[in-house]
Subunit: 449 residues, 2 copies
């Protein structure tokens, strides 16, 4: 498995935004008018390959992340791909433990660092002409372990335990790979965005059901009575056999969460997502105890992760049994390196990995994690669900596809994040046509409270 | 207490950096060559007053924060000070709960939001011709409570409890104010930076002792044997009566921390600071149990906070008894609003507030919190220590001063963050003389790993 000599020569960072707020798609109690966006990184090389990654955002602030990515590109431009592939942790460390930049913390900094790492992994996979999941599946357990920052998580999962988990799966990997290339990770979809009418929701459900979906999510949070009505409406619409999940997007405080959630018991919910603040580990532990989630007959489980800012937060949630579904995010933490660590911790603690999907091309990335997890880490797909968002796929050459309610396994080399040039030109912020020609009264969306 | 009509007309955001890495001041296991820096915000008004705040950093990345502050200034330019002072939480919410920007999370985003809020509080205090601490002391308990975001912390401290704490102190406030204006918050200082020789450390200690200091800190982390030797050296140098603290700057994992710390028992340390990752709440709880910190005869306590990214992290650390010293930071969280919440939680759980100081002008800010806490919240200064850093005070018109080992209470209106224009001109990055004329081999410091 030799890597051809490839040098990173330049970088292009693009602020890409789509005015999705016009349709109220993606809305929730906090994000009332999201404009699905991505900071797009394209690393140019002297070998004709381009290393691509994105950081998904919801509009304003994409420029903050672009600024950060541009700054961090200094650390890779001029470097060799081979230097990276022989020791992927070295670049991770140069970024995350950078002796001055680390002061900036999680959030924008970790997301920008993740963009660099993910683009390097994209190049690595492309240099081997493999989709990213296949690159990961083919790495030796020790190589996977070498990607990971063990400093702060070893008390929950040691390097040796991680290698052991991967080794134990290894015998079954060929069989699982064959199965998963025939039917990819099982998918679910949000049908109940907050801004939509009952009719819109119902028509979305019917469309999704005709595509084989049997798992649906609903946004809740603001009004207890209304929410219970909407949950009941959804349950009736999908029938008793389908999975129903709700998502509160961190809208509640701990006591408020208990008050709301206790009314949700009768509806056979699979999970309640982000009931409280993203970093409230002790709050999640208290919710798990209050609602006896460790019991086999529990009414529902708790899910979170799309806003968990670091592997340390995941470590605590997994080790303590606070969450029953682990929603990794492909771009909130520091790239493949962090996500591998999180998936392996979830595997050790038997928590299903249910990746978070989103707006522009995030689903293209998480499909790979679903594949790797279900082939090589957890080694099963019975309890896992991967989020699927059915819009903005016109942005990329390789749209994600679902068949029979499951992802079609990505086959293009790398992440499959090749954007259509005309989509980029139209949606570049602020000078693409979509934004330049936008009516004046709508330009202000981003900065209205 | 009426606020004259003052309108914010413009903003200036300055990337200010000092090449302190030349002297190895401020060095620790992670931040090997810090260049103490600040993103400086100056809000101009039509009344001649300028609202100033800073976000302290350690070099590279200051521009990320400047970029963010510049973006957020859109939310205040054109607004009235009175709109802010009648409902300070409204601006907080427009920033922190901004429906698109909140996706950016803590870190750069919360720090930039804090810069805006802190500059508005500076204007508020200046409009009343009061130092910031005095503005806060004179606010009614309900006004303080109205500044705070209760959503995620009410399970640890309710609005009613906070008001009750402040009311109970109120009778003693005039006496405490008189006492504290005579002798400000007791200070401590780091003498043992990692890059310094024994002789340099000893000479620093002697100088500080001659200024009345009796509490000293030492950086540890990388080498157990060397660290124990340095602790012994420091203890011998300062004698048995002085306070000695050590700071590991998150260098260890949990098990490694236990191994190191167990060797520190014999030296009468007051606290061990940041032994593990900033967001590892369960790790802190485990350390507190392992070293029986709740026992009256505990060998030492644990301290952290300078990198705690949100009030939710503080909530968990305080409510669980995981930390014995609460190191608020004036610029890591979202300004006065967040810090008031944290100080009040610390008051409820009887954890001494020991603010984190740093490089350019951070100490000028924390002095105000020391004053307010010790007059109006905890109402005492027996157990509190405020960090003091004795360099770069040539940057500002009103340097912080210590007398008899205590801060001289700030007397200038606002935060007292008026920078000397010539200091700014010389240290502006990258075009100030200090950076423009810097030898080529030193310009690269920021981007060497």
């Amino acid at each position: 498995m030799t890597t051809p000599s490839i040098r990173i020569t330049d970088a292009r960072v693009i602020d890409l935004r789509v005015p999705t707020s016009d349709q109220m798609l993606g809305s929730d109690p906090f994000h009332k008018q999201p404009d699905y966006s991505s900071a797009v990184l394209q690393l140019q090389t002297d070998a004709g390959l381009t290393g691509v990654s994105i950081v998904f955002t919801v509009g304003a602030g994409t420029d903050w992340i672009c600024h950060g990515i541009q700054d961090l590109c200094q650390l890779v431009i001029g470097s060799d791909l081979e230097t990276f592939t022989t020791a992927p942790f070295r670049l991770y460390q140069r970024l995350i433990d950078h002796h001055q930049l680390r002061w900036l913390h999680d959030g924008v900094f970790r997301m920008a660092a993740g963009a660099i790492l993910n683009a390097m992994f994209d190049l690595w996979a492309k240099s081997q002409d493999k989709p990213l999941w296949k690159l990961l599946v083919d790495l030796k357990p020790e190589q996977i372990a070498d990607c990971i920052d063990w400093r702060n998580i070893s008390d929950a999962l040691s390097r040796e335990e991680a290698i052991e988990i991967l080794r134990q799966r290894r015998g079954e990997v060929p069989r699982r790979e064959t199965e998963m290339t025939q039917r990819g990770p099982r998918a679910y979809c949000t049908a109940g965005w907050l801004g939509l009418s009952d009719e819109q929701i119902l028509s979305t459900i019917r469309k999704l059901q005709s595509q084989g979906f049997d798992s649906f999510k609903l946004k809740v949070g603001r009004d207890l009575q209304q929410d219970v009505q909407r949950i009941r409406f959804m349950r009736e619409a999908i029938g008793p056999q389908c999975n129903l999940m709700v998502d509160a997007n961190q809208y509640w405080g701990l006591e408020e969460a208990k008050r709301h959630i206790s009314q949700y018991r009768p509806y056979g919910l699979k999970w309640i997502e982000e009931p409280i603040a993203r970093d409230d580990v002790l709050g999640y532990i208290e919710l798990a105890e209050t609602f006896s989630t460790s019991q086999p007959n529990a009414d529902f489980g708790f899910a979170c992760g799309e806003h968990a800012a670091s592997p340390v937060i995941f470590k605590q949630l997994l080790k303590s049994g606070a969450i029953q579904y682990c929603q990794i995010d492909a771009v909130r933490v520091a790239g493949v390196n962090d996500v591998l660590a999180i998936i392996l911790m979830a595997a050790k603690y038997n928590v299903p990995v249910c990746p978070h999907g989103g707006g522009i091309a995030l689903c293209n990335m998480i499909a790979h994690y679903g594949m790797w997890d279900q082939i090589a880490a957890s080694g099963q797909g019975e309890t896992q669900l991967v989020e699927y968002i059915d819009f903005l796929q016109e942005a990329v050459e390789q749209p994600v596809q679902v068949r029979d309610g499951a992802y079609v396994p990505p086959a293009a080399p790398g992440w499959g994040l090749e954007f259509l040039p005309e989509f980029i030109e139209r949606h570049r912020y602020p000078d693409g046509d979509v934004w330049k020609n936008r009516p004046a009264e709508k330009k202000g969306t981003a900065f209205e409270a």
